[in-house]
């Protein structure tokens, strides 16, 4: 069967410009058949935009669901590996070192220690925070994995390794908005060196 391209009403230089193929009896226009082409085009297409949207229903699973539920009570709950005894936060349901399921739930924090940090000088889109600000890894008390959060309530150039911090929640917040200094003396390096 002979067919011909039916072009889309609006053409943008993409494969979707071909709306479909339709039957062609050869009477409309000259049927010239295949023609040699130099392979050179006056206006080469250098890029296309192919919009795509997919909707997913994300299931965090057993361990992460428990973590998220605990956060609604402003509690941070990790899971301990039965083999190496490390407490993971947030828990993913498995110890990546031992390759076994973690089940024992352990509440950690709320206070913690800054193990390392960086000063952010570039304003992020859609984020209403004045630069510079500090983003840090925080080892919550009792946790064997540091998580990251913003540090505020202290001049950015006074944040340091070992700084003791506590979470600051905002009304309706699903997780701490940021962490601030507790005023305690700095933690000794040996207490968090494994978590840097």
């Amino acid at each position: 069967m002979r067919v011909r391209v039916r072009w889309a009403a609006e053409r943008v230089g993409a494969i979707t410009d071909i709306a479909c193929f339709e039957p062609y009896d050869g009477t409309r226009g000259a049927d010239r058949g295949p023609q040699a082409h130099a392979g050179e085009f006056d206006e080469p297409v250098t890029g296309i935009v192919a919009p795509a949207r997919l909707d997913y229903t994300y299931s965090p699973g057993r361990a992460q669901s428990a973590y998220l539920h605990a956060l609604t009570d402003r509690k941070t709950v990790g899971e301990r590996c039965p083999a190496c005894r490390k407490v993971y936060i947030p828990p993913r349901g498995a110890c990546p070192t031992c390759g076994v399921a973690t089940e024992e739930r352990v509440e950690v924090g709320p206070r913690g220690t800054v193990t390392t940090y960086c000063i952010v000088n570039i304003k992020a889109k859609n984020l209403d925070i004045e630069v510079p600000y500090v983003y840090a890894h925080i080892a919550l008390d009792g946790a064997d994995l540091a998580l990251h959060a913003r540090i505020a309530g202290i001049p950015y150039d006074e944040v340091r390794m070992g700084l003791r911090v506590e979470p600051v929640w905002t009304d309706g917040g699903r997780y701490p908005d940021h962490y601030r200094p507790t005023g305690e003396p700095d933690a000794d390096y040996d207490t968090y060196k494994e978590l840097v």
């Binding site: 993409a14 494969i15 979707t16 296309i48 192919a50 795509a52 997919l54 909707d55 997913y56 229903t57 994300y58 299931s59 965090p60 699973g61 057993r62 361990a63 992460q64 669901s65 993913r92 349901g93 498995a94 110890c95 990546p96 070192t97 031992c98 390759g99 076994v100 399921a101």
Partner: protein, 209 residues
């Protein structure tokens, strides 16, 4: 050509294949059967020469989602490991090649897929050539139907012959308590001509090491 080395499958495990597994993550789904297989061999992760997994990150909708599943293996300190953005058969082939070349003497292969978070017929289109094919959103059933029609047009098969393959597979599945569909099902209506409901596989979640 005869393979250089004989390779034997010494253990196999499989989860129940379910339409949806909302309550567990990928690693939580995979881990029990993975440990079942390791226990059957008496080997630890660190004893295994090569570990290879096959899965599609598009199903989770998250880049590098397979690294989360790797947590269930115990990949630290680092192990010799690979992942294919593909199915378990391709992962098995990579492992088989490693065994043939003598780079490894033992291999652990696993695959898993949680299709339930998304609409799999739409999701799988994202794996296709991004310029000429993906913008057309040809779904997996339509692509299979094109191949089936080509076979029919070439005289290599007809609709009853194709239906017979599905029927044979489902009859075989009566011996597998983990399979979602066992025994014969109605051929049903066309999904994408020439493929009918009975020609198409069930969509579900599951893992197999």
């Amino acid at each position: 050509m005869r393979p250089v080395r004989d390779v034997a499958v010494v253990a196999f495990g499989q989860t129940d294949h379910l339409r949806s597994t909302d309550e567990i993550s990928e690693v939580e789904m995979l881990m029990p059967v993975l440990h079942e297989v390791l226990a059957a061999t008496g080997l630890k992760t660190s004893d295994i020469g090569f570990t290879c997994s096959g899965s599609s990150d598009y199903l989770a909708g998250r880049a590098f989602s397979f690294t989360m599943a790797l947590d269930g293996v115990g990949a630290w300190p680092p192990i010799s490991e690979s992942h294919v953005e593909m199915d378990g058969a391709w992962a098995l082939y990579e492992a088989w090649t490693k065994l043939q070349t003598g780079e490894a003497d033992t291999a652990l292969v696993y695959s898993y897929g949680k299709t339930s978070p998304g609409s799999v017929r739409d999701v799988l289109t994202r794996q296709l050539d991004p310029y000429y094919v993906a913008p057309l959103w040809p779904d997996s059933v339509a692509l299979a139907a094109l191949q089936a029609q080509a076979l029919i047009d070439a005289g290599a098969a007809d609709e009853p012959a194709l239906a017979g393959i599905a029927h044979r597979s489902r009859t075989d599945a009566t011996a597998n308590p983990h399979a979602r569909l066992r025994g014969s099902v109605a051929q049903g209506e066309y999904v994408v001509r020439p493929l009918r409901t009975g020609d198409c596989p069930p969509v579900g979640d599951g893992a197999a090491p």
